[in-house]
């Protein structure tokens, strides 16, 4: 039997330059199945660019991103989602005009019916399967009491929880989180970390981009440190924490 860990996401030798500026060079990442892989680094290290390259939004100048044998580069967002790669945004992207429950039902339909289907015959009310599933999900994130509220009226922390519920109901094979606690109050940050810890036990693969070390060390199985567009260190949280280069990258810039 092959004992090697199963690599789900492979960022293969990616370069990206804007004009003459090297935003990313020599990026090589391997994300193992079922693990939480964090990418950290100071502001301007190229984290967001890397995420956008992974999700196919920015084409790399060189190299490729491979998810489970499929090249993601050049695919449309909905195609990438249908492959099982789901993204959580820095500022929660939800449907502000729909109810909280409908917000969670919508992605469940995408999972069941695919990228496009004109489902007219059966009224929404009779979609009990999806409805129950969505209610379950809302219970998990603690929003079930607010299921009939317009999502736009939620607090930022609740919007984040809602967005997580929307992503999790699709049972993604790979979840990408872009600074999930950016701009949040301490209280909201803590509840979000709790929630992320809770879903950690479900064993789905996660890539988390984060600026805040505190968030990362409590969640990640493996950490890659990005600075100046390069990966300067990689390893277990304990290894990375003591690495002098990391210290320098952070202390040289700003301390989180």
């Amino acid at each position: 039997m092959d004992q090697r860990p199963n690599i789900v996401l492979h960022v293969d030798d990616v370069f990206k330059s804007f004009g003459g500026l090297h935003a990313l060079s020599d990026i090589d990442l391997q994300v193992e199945e079922g693990k939480t892989h964090a990418i950290i680094g100071p502001n301007g290290a190229g984290k967001s660019t890397l995420l956008n390259v992974i999700i196919g939004r920015i084409p790399p100048s060189r190299g490729a991103v491979v998810f489970d044998g499929t090249i993601l580069t050049g695919k449309k967002p909905h195609e990438i989602n249908q492959l099982g790669v789901v993204r959580v945004f820095q500022t929660p992207e939800i449907f502000p005009d729909l109810s909280v429950l409908q917000n969670v039902m919508t992605p469940a339909f995408a999972k069941r019916d695919g990228a496009f289907r004109v489902a007219l015959a059966r009224p929404l009310e009779r979609e009990t399967g999806i409805r129950d599933e969505a209610l379950h999900m809302l219970e998990d994130v603690g929003l079930v009491d607010r299921r009939e509220v317009h999502a736009g009226a939620l607090s930022r922390g609740d919007k984040r929880r809602l967005e997580l519920a929307m992503c999790l109901i699709q049972k993604p094979r790979l979840l990408l989180l872009d600074e999930p606690t950016a701009g949040m109050s301490r209280h909201d940050t803590n509840t979000t970390i709790e929630l992320l810890k809770k879903i950690k036990s479900r064993g789905m693969t996660k890539v988390i981009i984060e600026h805040d070390m505190h968030v990362v060390f409590s969640l990640a199985d493996k950490i890659s440190v990005l600075a100046g567009g390069r990966i300067i260190a990689e390893g277990l949280p304990s290894e990375v924490r003591g690495d002098p280069r990391v210290q320098e990258a952070y202390l040289g810039g700003e301390h989180a």
């Binding site: 449309k76 967002p77 909905h78 989602n81 249908q82 789901v86 993204r87 945004f89 992207e93 939800i94 449907f95 502000p96 005009d97 729909l98 409908q102 039902m105 919508t106 992605p107 339909f109 995408a110 999972k111 019916d113 695919g114 990228a115 496009f116 289907r117 004109v118 489902a119 007219l120 015959a121 059966r122 009224p123 929404l124 009310e125 009779r126 979609e127 009491d145 607010r146 009226a153 939620l154 607090s155 930022r156 922390g157 609740d158 929307m166 699709q170």
Partner: protein
């Protein structure tokens, strides 16, 4: 049979709506509007607005070209009367099919852009249709004189069934029953009810929820795994078919089709109806259409003599002044009133009449102390 099922609340709405529509000849009498010609217009433009709202109300795409599909429907129906038969069924079916094809083509191209660019693309296509209908397509559209029936038309199906050419122009019929006056109205009313039911199904279906989600946040929609363009295109084609059906019915009630039906101001009119009534609601566009058509009928019929009678209680000098001012707003000037009302609605009540009704209901609800139970916010909103 899911396909015929509506949630209880919507079923009640549908039944009430059906009663209101079918009883039009009764309740419109006190308003002096219970004659068939006007009632047919009420019903047909309500149908047009309900369909338009499926696109604009649900997906938020503001089209300025839907009158083109109305025109296509009218031309198709008249040609069906001329070439095939005076029966309305093929005419309506063909009108819907052809306008569907047109809207598929135009929508496919226009939906490659969003926002203002989408509006301008639809506008450009509608103007092309209109200009062509007036110029090179005159063999099909008969240009400025409008497409009309003639005694000498082929009507091959009718001829095959041995219908004898009469001395006068034939009129549209359904299974041999002529559709003049009230019969024409009831045909339109039934079509409207079916179309309204379909719109209710759209609003209640997962498909309808997807359309609302596209309006709400298109980025999230595509990252959620939906290909948003075919959804918007489906909404575009459905609303185009509604417009074609409305155009076909216009031809049924009066077998004549002119290019001015396709002008962009006509597209503007359906936007006005939808906004005035309440965009994104089911009943709103219907009310908007009725109100505009009713006011148009009343206001444009007003003349100075009638104004003098209306204001006869005022002293003479003042009366002349008031009449002089008021006369600018009625008769020929009815569009001025329409424009003003429309501006006021957009400025102060973007949700239209339905929003106004909701606010009034809430105000009354609070006064009587039975405000709707809203749960207090446990987390302070930012």
């Amino acid at each position: 049979m899911d396909i015929l099922v509506l949630p209880r609340k919507d079923l009640i709405v549908f039944i009430c709506f059906a009663v209101v529509v079918l009883a039009m000849p009764i309740w419109l009498t006190p308003f002096g509007a219970a004659y068939p010609g006007l009632m047919q217009k009420f019903v047909i433009f309500a149908l047009f607005a309900v369909g338009y709202n499926i696109l604009f109300g649900l997906t938020g795409y503001l089209s300025f070209g839907h009158a083109a599909f109305l025109g296509v429907g009218s031309y198709t129906a008249v040609w069906s009367f001329k070439l095939l038969t005076m029966d309305v069924l093929p005419a309506l079916v063909l009108a819907v099919v052809l306008s569907g094809i047109f809207s598929l083509a135009i929508g496919y191209v226009s939906l490659r852009r969003s926002g203002i660019y989408f509006s301008i693309l639809t506008l450009a296509f509608a103007q092309m249709c209109y200009n062509l209908a007036y110029s090179v397509l005159t063999p099909i559209t008969n240009g400025e004189t409008s497409l009309q029936l003639s005694r000498l038309d082929a009507r091959v199906v009718d001829a095959a069934f041995g219908v004898v050419r009469g001395e006068r122009l034939p009129s549209p019929s359904l299974f041999g029953v002529e559709l003049g006056g009230h019969a024409g109205f009831y045909l339109c009313a039934v079509v409207l009810l079916v179309a309204f039911f379909v719109a209710q199904k759209v609003f209640n279906s997962p498909f309808g929820m997807m359309l609302k989600a596209i309006k709400s946040n298109q980025t999230r929609m595509s990252y959620t795994g939906f290909n948003t363009r075919p959804y918007a295109l489906a909404a575009f084609v459905i609303s185009g078919m509604y417009a074609g059906l409305a155009g076909g019915l216009l031809a049924v009630t009066d077998p004549l089709a002119g290019a001015e039906r396709m002008q962009w101001t006509a597209s503007g009119e359906v936007v006005l109806m939808t906004i005035l009534g309440g965009v994104g609601t089911l009943i709103g566009p219907v009310i908007g259409a009725w109100l505009i058509k009713y006011l148009e009928n009343i206001f444009s019929a007003f003349n100075d003599a009638m104004l003098h009678r209306t204001f006869s209680f005022l002293p003479d000098g003042l009366q002349d002044g008031v009449v002089a001012v008021a006369s600018k707003f009625v008769g020929e000037g009815w569009h001025l009133t329409l424009g003003l009302v429309f501006m006021l609605v957009v400025i102060f009540l973007p949700g239209g009449i339905m929003e106004g009704a909701r606010r009034i209901r809430m105000a009354f609800g609070q006064r009587s102390g039975s405000a709707p139970q809203t749960k207090p916010d446990p987390v302070p909103a930012e």
